[in-house]
Amino acid sequence: MTEQLIEKIETMEKKHEKEKHQREKEYPKSSLTLKIYRANRRAGESPHYDRIEVPVQRWTTVLDALLYAKAYKDQSIGIRYSCRMASCGSCGMKINGIPRLACYTKVSELQGREITVEPLSNFPHIRDLVTDFSQFFAHHHNVEPYIQNDIADMQEKNKLTEFIQTPEDVDKYLQFSYCIKCGLCYSACPTVATDTQFAGPQALSQAYRYFIDNRDTAPKERLNLVDNRHGIWRCHFAGSCSAVCPKGVDPALGIQLLRGHLLGYSKNEKKVAELEERQKRD
């Protein structure tokens, strides 16, 4: 009886050991090295990389790893973050050379035992992983990213104005409205790298988002805003903006659709809708 029990315990132990090895095989990363770009030109600190060992789990994100490094290893690491759930777009950085959101990138999906984190390209650098978004937001501001509607009566403050849209109308711009202004597309854009006045994929896709919205009544003005030397025509359609977007927005598509409207070959849905409306009235 005792021997049987011992045998049973040994079998269980072997099974447990086997499962443990299996788990380790599947999730071998118990710690990894963060190679962090460090620079603070104002303080006279020249650019260099710091290597910091951090413990990780399968579900650890790069932001978690960075915050661990900041909390327990080096409190001077400059990093910007807020929501930790890919909603605010604050923690954009280059992870292993690709612009990504640190809070949305798990260490388990990255190759190797070392993760390189660098500030976003095409943005003026402030410190460590923090970049200046003023120019990026200025481009966004330039395309007037809000509904302009002359018909709506905004004078009577107490009166609620309703804009009725069909699901088809919403579908035309819905994906572009998911943009969180994280700047990853702007960082990945090869045109922005050479032409700082180029509006960039984010601003141009937002121009399309409001252009195609049937509540907006200023499509011509919108087209004029992007139809200049550093406007929509400077896009080379590399498509890297769409590849890096964490929210599944396709800025390259928006740019090409807007170009179609500028060249005059795209079907203008607004004109068609107006004609249909007029036909119904007649």
Binding site: S134, Q135, A138, H139, H141, N142, T191, T194, D195, T196, Q197, F198, A199, L223, D227, N228, R229, H230, G231, W233, R234, L262, L263
Partner: protein, 132 residues
Amino acid sequence: MEHLCSLGANNKKMAMLRESQIMKIHYITGVAAIFVVAVHIMMRIAIMPYGMSLEYENVIANYQNIPYIVLLESILVLVSIHGFNGLRVILLELRQSKKWEDGVTVLTIAAMIALIAYGTRTIIIANGLGFE
């Protein structure tokens, strides 16, 4: 911020054509150039052997053929417009300032006109019109 918001505003002033109109011309000339160059190549290899077509007498004879002259002139004009606008676009991305951009635009237009004028002169001389 005010300065940043005016980014790109300087390029709205000096423009006879809107950028969309320029790019329309760019695309149309590009597609048309493919067509006329294809016709030109076909004429080089379809009518007689390629080596023979490059002999002096045959080249001069080509310039006596009015439809062929029209074809050569179209290639010259279409490729010049398309090529120099392409060069302008590349140079605009190289540096950004009103002075540079206006300078690049003026220089590329001047170079385009000069090349078309020089090519047209060659066609006229080879045709013999210049000696009559």
